[in-house]
């Protein structure tokens, strides 16, 4: 038996290209459905776990999926904006506690999440290094952001302009990194957290500058009368917030009118949740309330519908590949007819020849199985990151 295996192995080694092709074919047929299954299960777990822990989401009417993907998975697609008034309405209803979200801006490719400290408690995020947010202009980094950008507390991080063509727009904010979070194995790892007011500073709604009523430089003033002072473009707004200039930062207008992308509503109980949902049923409302679980369920149903199609395709492709394999073996048998005749003439029985061929097939299957196991191991180990890289984000 060992002789047969040895001869089969030598044969496979001698015909490296053919053997490698066969191993690749078998491995691919086996690995495709497996990895797809692992990745889809992980994506389902990730999507659902975050959706299940987020009871209700209030946002502008429009795509519920965009709203959920932006709010829960920090997707780049920004939903229609709502005002801080929506946050206050949820609070004043007495039915739920609100957590505002403003996920619109980026810093070096990572989403900036403008929220309140309640978000950290709600998601169970712990500060690993440094401290949590305290002052305007500070940010706390998700673990992956800190690792990727090599930043630590005490460093600075510049917000990115919304578009490269925004030359006349607002200045980027040089944020002070004050903390790094423990890994949470969720989208929060790739986020830059700021207070929602700091997000408004990035937008230019809250800003600091010299007191226009006190400036002496005439080139800073375009027009001055009893009621109004108009500054020239020379008036620079502060792009960093520190102890010296924090006092000059101010809101324009009522904060209730300031924008948000969504509000997470945490109802006291199921009854409160139902009553709150009922308040957003009216067609006249410009806002909607969604249960992220339902939205993600719908998304997953579509994903699994696609998966079943892919499964069918894989079965068909697999069958075709198997037939091709059979053909390859049949053809190789024909090509090896002279070699097999020689073996037969040397005194080997037909059974021995069958054993030799069987050993070849077994070796190919074993190598393929090992390869599949290795790939499966890698995919299973990195499924979380792979899903976040390819599916969630």
């Amino acid at each position: 038996m060992i002789d047969s295996v040895y001869i089969a192995w030598r044969y496979l080694v001698f015909n490296k290209a053919r053997s490698a092709t066969l191993v690749a074919c078998v491995s691919l047929i086996a690995v495709l459905p497996f990895t797809l299954d692992v990745l889809l299960n992980e994506s389902e777990r990730q999507l659902l776990s975050r959706a299940e822990t987020t009871p209700l989401l209030v946002g502008a009417k429009g795509s519920a999926l965009d709203l959920v993907m932006n709010s829960l998975y920090l997707d780049d697609q920004v939903p229609e904006l709502v005002s801080m008034q929506v946050n206050d309405e949820v609070s004043e209803s007495g039915l739920a506690n609100p957590i505002p979200l403003y996920v619109r801006f980026h810093a070096r490719g990572f989403p900036i999440v403008g929220t309140t400290l309640d978000y950290f408690d709600f998601r169970g995020l712990q500060v690993r290094e440094g401290r949590s947010l305290a002052l305007l202009g500070e940010c706390v980094l998700g673990s992956a952001v800190a690792e990727s950008l090599g930043l630590k507390p005490g460093d600075r991080l510049l917000s990115s302009p919304e578009t490269v063509f925004d030359l006349a727009g607002i200045y980027p904010l040089n944020m002070n990194v004050v903390g790094v979070l423990e890994p949470s194995h969720s989208a929060d790892d790739v986020a830059v957290f700021v207070d929602v007011k700091t997000a408004w500073v990035i937008e230019g709604l809250v800003h600091g500058h010299q007191d226009l009523l006190k400036v002496r430089d005439p080139t800073l003033i375009m027009e001055r009368n009893d009621q109004n002072v108009t500054a020239t473009a020379k008036l620079t707004q502060y792009t960093e917030i520190d102890e010296q200039n924090i006092g000059s930062f101010h809101f324009h207008g009522e904060p209730q009118a300031y924008p948000l992308t969504a509000v997470i509503a945490l109802p006291a109980d199921a009854k409160s949740a139902t009553i709150l949902r009922g308040r957003y049923v009216s067609a006249e409302k410009t806002t909607q309330i969604v249960e992220p679980n339902e939205v993600i369920d719908g998304l997953l149903r579509n994903i699994f519908r696609v998966k079943s199609i892919i499964d069918s395709v894989i079965v068909v492709v697999g069958l075709a590949a198997l037939l091709a394999l059979v053909l390859v073996f049949a053809l190789s048998l024909r090509l090896r007819q002279r070699e097999l005749n020689t073996v037969f003439r040397l005194g080997c029985s037909r059974y021995t020849i069958v054993r030799l061929l069987g050993a070849e097939i077994a070796i190919i299957l074993i190598i393929s199985a090992a390869l599949v196991a290795a790939v499966a191991g890698v995919v299973s180990h990195y499924d979380e990151q792979l899903v976040r890289l390819f599916l969630v984000n």
Binding site: K197, N228, H250
Partner: protein
């Protein structure tokens, strides 16, 4: 032998002392732990001014641990806490805000929204908008002004009672099992505040129409509620006003011939003497935004009312 006996005796005494010390230390440790446990059970409440701290303490009693960390002698409306103080605010169970854009530092720090209680929400539609000041424009947001909202809301004692009610409700939400006790204590505080309101109403009636001056624009709610004919200057008690300020006062006196001027604190003697020479007597009416040197919010307000009442005389 004798030396050994003495040594043993000393050793025994030393052991006894050490045992005693250990017992005392153990007892102290237990006491400390017990106190910590009691303190841990207490609701930790941080406030942005003294009136709210006073209300919270009156309503919460021993069940709350009230903190107002602004240093003495500073106006809490314009105070800016440092990072360690902000973190202390963040770790509180409740943070009581005055509302009406009081304590501007709140807009510049991160506080957990779910712990914040705006005590003046009930009457926020009645906030008094201050002089909007000069508007200005720059950048994409267009014309705007930084004129503020009058924020010494508690000087209208009926509003103060509403703020106290908001505190009682917030405490009851945090400790529902103590709601009845909080309500009972609130009722006592409310009656004190409404008594002040009633007394101030009668003072207001006596002062009706009579021109009054205020050194600083902090009495807007007092003026509205009690119908005072009050005009405000921008004078500081510890700064002698300059020539232009005195000239401005002379101009104002022509159309508003006031003989009494309300001050947040005792003005420097030079200012007081010059006012006296103009026939204007000074009366201290402290808003009591920070912890007073003696007494508490209620005693300071009673003192304010007595001072105002006495300067008005029996028939105003």
């Amino acid at each position: 032998m004798a030396g050994t006996a003495i040594g043993d005796a000393n050793h025994n005494r030393g052991c006894t002392v050490r045992h005693g010390l250990r017992r005392v230390l153990a007892a102290a440790l237990l006491l400390f732990m017990a106190c910590s446990a009691v303190a841990a059970d207490k609701l930790v409440v941080f406030t942005v001014n003294h009136p709210l701290a006073y209300f919270a303490q009156r309503i919460g009693g021993d069940e709350v641990d009230v903190h107002f960390p602004a240093p003495e002698g500073i106006d809490p409306a314009f105070w800016m806490p440092d990072v360690s103080e902000i973190i202390a605010y963040q770790q509180a169970d409740l943070v009581l805000l005055n509302g009406a854009r009081y304590a501007k530092w709140v807009d510049k720090v991160s506080l957990p929204q779910l712990k914040l209680v705006n005590t003046s929400t009930a009457f926020q539609d009645q906030y008094l908008r201050g002089d909007a000041g000069t508007t200005h424009s720059h950048g994409p947001v267009g014309e705007h002004s930084h004129g503020g909202v009058a924020f010494t809301t508690w000087l209208d004692f009926s509003q103060a009672a509403q703020q106290a009610k908001a505190i009682a409700e917030a405490l009851a939400r945090k400790r529902p099992e103590l709601a009845a006790e909080f309500q009972r204590r609130f009722a006592l505080l409310e009656s004190d505040l409404l008594a002040l309101d009633s007394e101030m109403q009668s003072i207001g009636q006596r002062a009706r129409g009579k021109p009054l001056l205020a050194s600083h624009p902090v009495y807007q709610y007092l003026q509205r509620r009690y119908d005072l004919n009050l005009r405000s200057l921008m004078w500081e008690p510890d700064v002698v006003p300059g020539r232009s300020s005195w000239q401005g006062l002379q101009v104002l006196l022509r159309e508003h011939p006031a003989q009494r001027m309300l001050w947040e604190a005792e003005p420097v003697s030079e200012t007081a003497q010059r006012l006296t020479s103009l026939g204007i007597s000074t009366v201290i009416f402290s808003p009591c935004a920070n912890v007073p040197d003696d007494g508490d919010f209620l005693t300071v307000m009673r003192r304010n009312l007595e001072a105002l009442s006495s300067i008005l005389g029996p028939d105003g």
